[in-house]
Subunit: 124 residues, 2 copies
DNA sequence: TCTTACATGTGTCTTTTACATGTAGGAGAG
DNA sequence: CTCTCCTACATGTAAAAGACACATGTAAGA
């Protein structure tokens, strides 16, 4: 394992983000449960949920199409509004179920992290 | 993006774990701050922190040597006890500092996740 | 002797994330 | 009208992280 310089912060400190794996997925599902929308709009709304760490647009569009392949979201072209045509996504019942599973998993993650932090504080 | 079959659970349900990226790293540092120990021992103690999802031993040993290369842990062979020789790891001051950064990052992650879950519950 | 537990590792593939780039419609400035 | 900017969607590919398979050796006990 080579020491990855991506881990080093500019001034000798460490960049640690503690992101949840594939968090963009539940974030998209939640945004789409609130209301259907298109990729670029989701891209701008995602930071509300993900914080500083924004999702790459390339991966976002791929992710959306992946979710559609799996039947978790559906989409259709929308050229009613002016500007470039948008692909409007909506969550499906399967998508809502998956979001529910994500929510449960995230609650368990909260508990794991809380235990970690408690143990961390114990002998500080 | 090909639909990954690893995501499908056996009976048509979804396997979602919501793990924190590279969580094994702070977990190892925390265990080593409590007391120095060797890889196999850490492997058995890790589930206390990571839950069900256990770390692959192969990756664990690689991770430990990676941490050593970066000066976050130190190690030496210990053949005092019976059985196969063990490589005994200890956390370094740099390692303790990194652990502190991880703890801060994990607290921020807790807040992000809490916001997500609140928003999830709002319009359930 | 054979199996099991302890202990440390390498090799390699897949999945996930990061970075770079391409195409195109329209709006407003000059 | 041309130049630039913002919107919108997309592909290509590299790097990082994780999963899976296997190799090596010590020692204890059936």
């Amino acid at each position: 394992m080579r020491a990855p310089r991506s881990r080093r912060h500019h001034h000798g400190r460490w960049r640690v983000l503690a992101r949840v794996e594939r968090f963009a997925e539940p974030a998209l599902l939640l945004l789409l449960r609130e209301r259907p929308s298109h990729g670029y709009d989701l891209l701008e709304r995602l930071p509300e949920l993900t914080g500083e760490a924004r999702v790459e647009m390339g991966n976002l569009y791929r992710l959306l199409r992946g979710l559609e392949e799996e039947g978790l979201v559906s989409s259709e072209w929308d050229d009613s509004s002016p500007g470039p045509a948008k692909r409007r996504y909506a969550i499906t019942p399967d998508g809502e179920r998956l979001l529910d599973h994500w929510a449960e998993a995230l609650r368990r993650a909260q508990q794991r992290t809380a235990r970690f932090l408690t143990r961390y504080e114990e002998r500080r």
